[in-house]
């Protein structure tokens, strides 16, 4: 095993393969910076190059791309409050307020360092867990997956602040909106309003950007001025960010571990990873008062986790052919095109290639974070430019990104609709994160509930995995409600 790992390292750092890895990283960083564009666009862009390419170079390139998107998508999340990709929604919660206070440099340096460490830990976990991956994935049945979606929904309680009812209402709205489109249990379409666009329901990119980006644009423009109003030298926070990470080193490790574990779960990881980590960090923090107003721990947790996830997410993709996200699906297709058939015995038959993946993740994360550091100086200056000067460009980028989801004009109207809803919610204090969580988990909840009840009736409730996750939900949700009462006394 060590031989295979060592040989793979030599292969990856040979100039030819390293060149492709670097190309992947460069494209990944670029796409991550553009709001709304995620790994899917990047993979689609580079995939044609993989025809006839040797699998090692192709894998290094595509994994390099996938690994760093969650590094550079921090830029729009932190500097503009726009989700750079679906994996960086929670970073907004604390990263953006900090940037508004003029601490953008601190947040970015902390985020990049966490991304790098998270990615490295994710690669390490992946390589350690590989020999046991198959039995672990098979032990997670549909009942356990259902409980994990409930855990994701449970995070709503942590994110609803002091308005539990409004938080629940927001979740219910998300769950209801998620039921638009094809019913998971029947060959019929719900609420499609006579338009083809809604046959598959609303698209996550448009919903997320609409809820978070449009209200922010409107708010900053109508307030006037720049994103950050305090004209501080952005340079001085860099060391502070690094010190933050050193101070919270256990937090980095904890969330990188949670991230790689959740990434590992087929079909679930990508959707909830950042919110679960954000919820957990709040739940277990002693002083909760600054969360949502600019607590650096609210950046460290999701950023450590979302890069670590990439390692875990490879397991269902290459061992079971179940991609956890659109970009993983394209990676899967590229693998098959290059003649690599995914399956549980890949670890035996192509150990070299699997370790190439592990090393590619590790090296890409170091490369990606370093380049992001270099870029952050010029990019973070955007935060002090009068907003009306950059708003048109950002709106154009966001719109182009949202339109790639289905390339139907409906994507733009969805964006607009959720922009208006998001603005009203922002204005009136209804938390928006629960809506997004409900929306993302809606189909999974319905799907798994049907499967579990028709397969197990009620006996699933006695499964050990279900009980363990149930206890975790009680700890996270129950205590956070109790904790809040206590706090408000």
């Amino acid at each position: 095993m060590f031989d295979a790992a060592f040989t793979a390292l030599q292969v990856v750092i040979s100039p030819e393969h390293f060149g492709f890895l670097f190309l992947g990283v460069a494209v990944g960083l670029f796409i991550g910076i553009l709001p709304g564009l995620g790994g899917m666009v990047g993979m689609a862009l580079l995939m044609p190059l993989t025809y006839g390419m040797d699998p090692v170079s192709g894998v290094a390139m595509l994994i390099g791309l996938g690994s760093v998107i969650t590094t550079s998508d921090t830029f729009p999340s932190v500097l503009m409050g726009i989700p750079g990709s679906s994996g960086s929604q929670a970073t907004i919660m604390d990263g953006y307020p900090l940037a508004q206070k003029g601490e953008g440099a601190r947040v970015l340096s902390a985020a990049f360092l966490c991304s790098m460490l998270g990615g490295l830990i994710g690669a390490l976990v992946l390589s350690l867990i590989l020999p046991f991956a198959v039995p672990i994935v098979l032990a997670l049945g549909t009942p356990e997956l259902l409980m994990l979606t409930f855990l994701g929904l449970g995070m709503v309680s942590v994110l609803s602040g002091k308005n539990p009812v409004l938080g629940l209402l927001s979740t219910a709205l998300g769950l209801a909106l998620g039921s638009f489109g094809t019913a998971p249990t029947s060959a019929i379409y719900r609420y499609n309003l006579g338009t083809d666009y809604l046959l598959d329901g609303f698209k996550l990119t448009s919903v997320a950007i609409g809820l978070f980006a449009i209200p922010e644009f409107v708010a900053i423009l109508s307030r006037g001025g720049a994103i950050t109003s305090e004209k501080r030298d952005l340079g001085e926070g860099w060391m502070q960010g690094i010190r933050d990470v050193v101070r919270h080193k256990y937090l980095v490790i904890r969330h990188a571990l949670i991230g790689s574990m959740i990434g590992f779960i087929p079909g679930l990881g990508n959707a909830i990873i950042d919110w679960v980590n954000y919820g957990v960090v709040i739940r277990f923090a002693k002083d909760k008062s600054q969360f949502g107003k600019g607590d650096i721990r609210g950046v460290i947790a999701p950023e450590s986790a979302n890069n670590a996830k990439e390692g875990g997410a490879l397991i269902p993709t290459v061992l079971f052919g179940i991609p956890g996200s659109g970009s993983m699906a394209l990676l899967l297709a590229a693998l098959i095109i290059m003649g690599v058939e995914p399956g549980p015995d890949l670890i035996l038959t192509r150990a070299d290639l699997v370790y190439v993946m592990v090393w590619s993740i590790a090296i890409a994360n170091v490369l990606g974070a370093s380049i992001a550091f270099l870029l952050s100086g010029p990019i973070s200056k955007l935060a002090v430019v009068p907003f009306y000067k950059i708003m048109p460009f950002i709106l154009i980028l966001v719109t182009m990104g949202a339109f790639q989801a289905t390339r139907h004009i409906g994507d733009l109207f969805t964006l607009l609709l959720f922009g208006i809803v998001g603005w009203v919610m922002r204005q009136t204090g209804i938390p928006r994160a629960p809506l997004l969580i409900g929306f993302v988990l809606s189909t999974l909840v319905e799907r798994y509930l049907w499967q579990v009840t028709s397969r197990y009736q009620f006996e699933w409730l006695t499964r050990p995995g279900v009980i363990v996750i149930g206890v975790i939900i009680v700890i996270v949700v129950g205590f956070s409600l109790f904790g809040r009462e206590h706090e408000s006394d």
Partner: protein, 363 residues
């Protein structure tokens, strides 16, 4: 303000002229300097996606005039979205090709609700066959294929159905063997079901032949029995074995071995009628029937060039477990056989499907 309006008018005019020039340019070779898109109605990584990408690559290499051919995903509504878009909105100049499946044609024939396209809206350029295998897990009372009648008794077997038309051949097979099935709904795709089978959540599964190398072997490693393969319809109207699975009986063969007599009745008639559709021409590349004749000619010529190219056809055969491209007269005769479901069979099939699964058909 007046200056601005003037600028706008000029911009508008320029944009308009650019657009006009683009539309009206005609070259000697029909496809030179053009851009062709192959629309893929399914998500990346599946059988249709791989087939479409392979063919997009083929057209990119062999289409005269050397146009850029790019695959483009347009998922949604189980393929309805892409089909409706191609018929109702896409340009009909031969620049849009659509990857499709026999199941989509069956949806058109049965008139599933939401489907606004018809068989006659498209010309089929090329196809490849696609069969399906059925496996039953160990410990379900079936040690060999002879034990098939045991499946009628007991509590029933759990199986997963994504939607009744994509699993139509299995539904008919289950009907003919009268096996007690407990259908679990809500699975997302083939891989999702494979995992459920490996976890022991379902007992019997139908799987496309392309998946054999990747996951079917794992079922067999865990003691599952490979019951049968759908089979393909030959030119004489007989159901014959898939050349990729020469040692696996077709469904009628397996039935006869277990029950001592071949299957008969309406279910078998319908089965025989749908096999050429979902099997022989299982995956297809379509072009709008309104596309210019030169376009269709160039596309068909490209298909012939692909089939005659040693390297390319080796790729096709490798990906399709021994089957090459189906085109020309051979394709036409398969399609003729495929589309002759009788009105009674259509009525029967519609009610048979909707009795067992929620689905809506146009009246």
């Amino acid at each position: 303000m007046r200056t601005i309006n003037f600028y706008f008018c000029r911009f508008l005019l320029l944009a308009g002229v650019a657009l006009f020039v683009n539309i009206t340019t005609v070259n000697a070779q029909f496809y030179s300097d053009k851009r062709v898109e192959v629309i893929i109605p399914t998500s990346p990584g599946g059988g249709t996606d791989l087939f479409a990408r392979l063919l997009a690559d083929g057209f990119d290499e062999f289409l005269e005039g050397n146009p850029t051919v790019i695959p483009r995903q347009m998922t949604g509504g189980g393929g309805l979205l892409a089909g409706n878009w191609v018929v109702e909105q896409a340009p009909k100049d031969g620049s849009i090709l659509l990857a499709s499946t026999g199941q989509t044609t069956l949806r058109q024939i049965l008139r599933q609700r939401g489907m606004r396209t018809e068989v006659s809206d498209f010309d089929v350029l090329v196809a490849v066959p696609m069969t399906r295998n059925v496996f039953v897990a160990a410990g379900k009372g079936v040690e060999t294929r002879i034990d098939l009648p045991n499946l009628r008794d007991g509590d029933g077997l759990y199986t997963a159905l994504i939607d009744p038309i994509s699993g139509i051949s299995f539904m008919l097979q289950a009907g003919m063997t009268d096996m007690a099935l407990r259908v679990i709904k809500g699975y997302e795709g083939g891989k999702d079901r494979d995992l459920a089978m490996l976890r022991g959540e379902i007992d019997i599964i139908q799987q496309i032949s392309l998946q054999y190398d990747a996951t079917s072997r794992l079922f067999l490693d865990r003691g599952a029995i490979h019951l049968w393969n759908d089979g393909l319809l030959d030119v004489n109207g007989n159901i014959v074995r898939d050349a990729g699975f020469p040692n696996i009986p077709t469904f009628p063969e397996a039935y006869e071995a277990a029950y001592g007599e071949p299957p008969t009745g309406m279910l078998l008639d319908v089965y025989r009628a749908i096999i050429p559709l979902v099997g022989n021409a299982g995956k297809t590349i379509l072009v709008s029937s309104q596309a210019p004749a030169e376009a269709k000619q160039a596309l068909r010529a490209a298909v012939v060039a692909m089939a005659n190219d040693v390297n390319y056809s080796a790729r096709v055969i490798d990906q399709n477990r021994g089957y090459g491209l189906l085109y020309g007269e051979e394709l036409d005769s398969a399609l003729t056989r495929a589309r002759n479901l009788s009105p009674e069979q259509i009525v029967f099939l519609r009610s048979y499907i909707s009795e067992q699964y929620e689905i809506e058909f146009e009246p």
